[in-house]
Symmetry: C2
Subunit: 483 residues, 2 copies
């Protein structure tokens, strides 16, 4: 542990982050909002705190060690989540409690997109823009986390993506790798955002909405500047654009990188995670559309298809945009969609959930166990593509799954102890841990009316989900703090 180095980094982080409160202030000034001041104050407080942290530690330029990585990753979301809440807490309209401000901020930065605000359409543009921006920044953080940090830390089997460095590496130096990998992928992230915004604009959104929705789409965040979410436009064209960019944003950004460099679609077709991702979403869409049609829910196949496909992709990728109140859909559809969000996006994307590659590994391992029962003496290697996967990685994936289920169950029970009913508690934890957003029951439309303790618990759920459970859990082990 190198507390001074971490202090220096957090200070820098806050100073950089403080500047993200200026664009919303600019938006507010441009639209003549009443709400510019909270952002200026938020900027000053965050910048000042960052400066105070950074100044005394500014000469501690040693490189990060493995353990520091865990602390920095968790601090990133916790500290920014708290400071990001400042403008929301200071704003007069909406009038949010500290709890609500933190919930909204954490929800944005973790790209969950669960909101406690009702009446978005009447809010100042500055606030609306800030919420979208938080998601977009959170998405940038996730790209680094998923592609550069977690593989180095070995969390939940993600050393799978560290295949070029053979074997577990001793206290690897994180900094150069983060910078180099992150830069390439951020360009892709930025490019996707621009392309998405332009496409939305060409499809009929005004520039403000086009930028706002593109932030929430590419980050798989799902915040919207309108209460009706994507349903506000009632436009099949806009929904089609959203589907395409949600699918792209839910895929491994490393694949986009290779596809661009090689100018070929083959990296997608050759990647077994991507194939599984496409298969799962297609299957989900078929079931949802079919069930809606059999129940004649919207009255025409066209409408069943349109709504079913959009919701399947939006929930399946854990984006969480809605075009309709899917939590009122008949039978098992709401529960099915919530279950699908557990699979979530691909590793190395901004999507949430358990991640497709882990889901794939769990299935392959399950099949291996079945084979082993029939052939107790044979050896079966679990493979991804043509490469056998190391036992250590498989252990980590099993462990991740069990820890995910355990965390889910405990938070669900705790929510029920605060008075939430079972459906609300179940869907709220799922929607928050999977960084999905909209739930069922009392949190079907928003999270405004649940009790404050439940909101704090759900902040934990969002952070645990986003940080892949083990990253924050490690901090709770005594061994982590021992020399």
């Amino acid at each position: 542990m190198q507390p001074r180095v971490i202090q220096r980094i957090l200070g820098l982080l806050l100073m950089v982050f403080s500047f993200t409160m200026l664009p919303p202030a600019g938006v507010g000034w441009f639209y003549g909002d009443i709400g510019v001041r909270p952002f200026i104050n938020g900027f000053l407080v965050t910048l000042g705190t960052g400066l105070l942290l950074w100044w005394p530690a500014r000469h501690n330029r040693r490189e990060l060690k493995l353990r520091d990585g865990f602390l920095v990753a968790v601090s990133f979301w916790v500290v920014l989540g708290l400071f990001g809440a400042i403008p929301l807490a200071l704003a007069v309209h909406p009038h949010l409690s500290i709890t609500d401000a933190v919930f909204e901020s954490v929800s944005g930065l973790t790209t969950t997109g669960a909101t406690v605000i009702v009446g978005l359409d009447r809010l100042p543009k500055s606030i609306l823009f800030y919420r979208q921006e938080l998601e977009w920044l959170g998405g940038m953080g996730i790209i680094v986390l998923a592609v550069a940090v977690l593989p180095m830390l070995g969390v939940g089997g993600m050393q799978l993506y560290r295949a070029e460095t053979p074997g577990p590496i001793k206290d690897a130096k994180l900094t150069p790798r983060i910078a180099e990998t992150a830069k390439a992928l951020w360009y892709i992230y930025l490019g996707l955002t621009v392309a998405c915004a332009v496409a939305y604009w060409l499809s009929g959104m005004d520039p403000f909405d086009a930028i706002s929705y593109s932030f929430a789409t590419v980050s798989i965040g799902g915040f919207a500047p309108h209460d009706a979410s994507m349903g506000y436009f009632d436009s099949p064209l806009i929904e089609s654009v959203a589907i395409v960019f949600m699918l792209l944003a839910g895929a491994n950004f490393g694949l986009h990188f290779y596809a661009i460099r090689r100018r070929s679609l083959r990296p997608y077709l050759e990647d077994s995670e991507f194939r599984t991702y496409a298969t799962v979403l297609a299957l989900l869409a078929v079931i949802v559309v079919g069930y809606l049609y059999l129940n004649r829910y919207f009255g025409s196949f066209g409408e069943d298809f349109r709504q079913g496909l959009f919701q399947a992709v939006s929930i399946g990728t854990t984006t969480g945009f809605t075009t309709t109140s899917y939590h009122h859909w008949p039978g098992f559809l709401p529960a099915l969609l919530i279950f699908a969000s557990f699979i979530g996006g691909c590793a190395g994307s901004t999507g949430g959930g358990i991640k497709v590659v882990r889901f794939l590994l769990l299935i392959k391992q399950g099949l291996r166990e079945l084979h082993r029962l029939i052939h107790p003496n044979a050896e079966f290697a679990v493979k991804i593509g043509r490469r056998p996967v190391d036992d250590r990685i498989l252990d980590a994936v099993w462990g991740f799954f069990a820890a995910y289920v355990a965390t889910f169950s405990l938070i669900m029970l705790a929510l029920m102890a605060t008075g939430l009913n079972q459906i609300t508690a179940f869907s709220a934890v799922a929607a928050c841990m999977n960084n999905l957003g909209p739930g069922l029951g009392a949190v079907g439309d928003n999270y405004a009316h649940i009790n404050p303790v439940a909101k704090w618990l759900l902040c934990f759920a969002m952070l645990f989900g986003r940080l892949e459970v083990f990253t924050p859990l490690v901090l709770f082990t005594p061994g982590f703090w021992r020399r």
Copy 2:
């Protein structure tokens, strides 16, 4: 695969099983019931079918191979479940559909104890006795399955209990071991039943109830000859007796064996599974009693303690006796109790659920993954007691857990597709897969009023839970049927 040998065994099994329909007929005759005939007819049909199966294959006396073990284990519960339903389907009172008769029979033989019958107090004694007897017989089957069959088959890591035979064994011959181990443990099972019946009788039950309840207690079944279950007696003494015998029946029968042979309680104290079992149940009881007391649910601590302790042990061991409508208890208590039933009884007991030893291994493996993140190069062995556990067993336990969760989710979604609401579907699958019995929502009191498709799905859930998921799953793999 040796179809003729399996046919011979199933024939023998049915012939033996047919005789279990005579005691209920005797009970009916003794009490002057109207319902003797269905049992006589059931006896004749079952005996006849058994004879027809056995006769042409009677010379195929070869020993069972590994794969045959899976088929025999599954057939045992499926075939006996179907034939066991005959007297229930033939009876005039209660008037059950085929679906209901099979559900009740499977529920008995898997020691689930979920019932579709309302108005037990008005039923003929023969039917009541038969239901209890089915559970008791099911319990005998489970002892063999858990102690002799599953360890040999290696299902779900249960080769843990095959420690004395080093390494995976090649097509082990099952027969001699089953007979030898089963005999010793059946004596214990029988002894526990007699002791339990006598204790119930001395505590104030009439002889019929004493025997009936002892059958359901020692088998962790939970059927009762009264609608009010254990609450019929409203007797703290009887409930105390029940608690003691539920605790004993939920422990590994191998421990009882060693304790009796050594005339010492040390085998219990030295067994880490038993210690975890006791800890989990104690913790559960403390939370339940404490929460009831804080909510002043029964108005006095004495009553909160009595009801809370009984329900914690009854649900925690997966027995499923009730003294009160626990599904109406406040807040998270009903969900907590259902979650606790997932942990279930000890391996080698008649209890259901995932089993305490697997739960313990999952926790230890989770902790190992945490340690590995901090110390990527160190080697940690997961140990039970002082013995390190083989990686192959750990894989099997992870796999078991994932398969359990997957099966649970799929059946839950399927139930919701048949029209059950989420709470009912969730608790019904949990209560059936964990072989617990009573659920929440529409299945809080009984399973009479859900649709037939749901009942069949729940029969599957009971069988999958009882056969530890992998045993029936193996039969669905093409590899199993290939030479």
